[in-house]
Symmetry: C2
Subunit: 195 residues, 2 copies
């Protein structure tokens, strides 16, 4: 089990006993595969931290087609910051792909913990910057990378997810058809075989 | 002229004289059309705030093709946070599309000003969250929107930019060919004409 407390400890050089108390009192929730943590149109109240399991954040277009914004395996955060921070109805769904255990963090918790311990503010800032860089590079990849390059960078970002989700979901994340994903995988396999 | 000082004043309810001092002492730079503020491979040192003019942030792929991550007109911030915050060589270029006047903000400035005035920290947090929501929605749009929908949301994000940049750059931002952009514009014009 990757607990939130252990994760925070691994990210900070030192932390105060007050911070420990706050973290220990966080709400956690056990959810089943296919359960929703957020639905399109709802206002999001939480940032989710995945202790165990796997979540996906996605939108559904008017034709009913799913578009996957991100996967969140163990030790990842997922949130709809537009809805959470700016109090707007969410454009996205967040759903469990496996039975999962998640920590529910309110925005006010970030402020509370930052007051108790300034080093947490620095961590929060690092997490926000890290999130921005991932999103920025994903946009760049969607604009410029071939299907194969997108697939390879997916494998790098999510090394263990390929075995945990259906191929169609991987294709949806990459913005390519399941057929092109099969072609990419076949090409890569053949090239490795002939090496 | 949209000065950084006026912009900060418009975003905060109150601010201290010390904050005013810090802001007045920021470095500004006058740059010419086609001048670079950052090149691929360099380490970025600044967040840029545009007082006047227009910047673009883009990457160039191995075939020499440009991919536009964002435009930054007046009152916008632009930065490669990966390079700035995590001290890595930048994947991107930042270049002036018009003669421009920009404020150069070091990461340490944010910390300094936040120490003097906590309300700035809140503003910084809001800006980071706002940046995340824009990037998130752009990814969703690249995954799910038609060329026409992408164009319409571009017009909403950048109402006055259409007249300031060549069509080919708009197409590059949208991740479509210049030919499909022409088609989209023609279709929209015809539909408006027949309304």
């Amino acid at each position: 089990m990757n607990t939130f407390k252990e994760y925070i400890a691994s990210q900070l050089n030192s932390k105060s006993p007050q911070m420990d108390d706050l973290i220990e009192n966080c709400n956690t929730r056990q959810i089943l595969k296919d359960e929703f943590l957020l639905r399109q149109g709802e206002q999001s109240r939480y940032i989710f931290f995945v202790e165990q399991g796997l979540l996906k954040q996605y939108s559904v277009d008017e034709k009913g087609k799913e578009h996957i914004l991100m996967f969140a395996p163990e030790k990842w955060f997922v949130a709809d910051r537009e809805s959470l921070y700016f109090k707007r109805p969410s454009l996205y769904f967040i759903k469990a792909l496996e039975d999962s255990r998640v920590v529910l963090l309110e925005e006010s918790f970030i402020n509370k913990i930052a007051e108790v311990d300034h080093s947490f503010l620095e961590l929060n800032n690092r997490l926000l910057n890290n999130h921005i860089l991932h999103l920025q590079n994903r946009i760049n990849s969607l604009l410029s990378d071939s299907a194969e390059e997108r697939y390879l960078s997916f494998v790098q970002t999510y090394p263990d997810i390929l075995l945990r989700v259906p191929q169609a979901m991987v294709a949806s994340y990459l913005g390519i058809t399941p057929e092109s994903l099969s072609r990419v995988r076949k090409d890569l396999a053949e090239r490795n075989f002939h090496k």
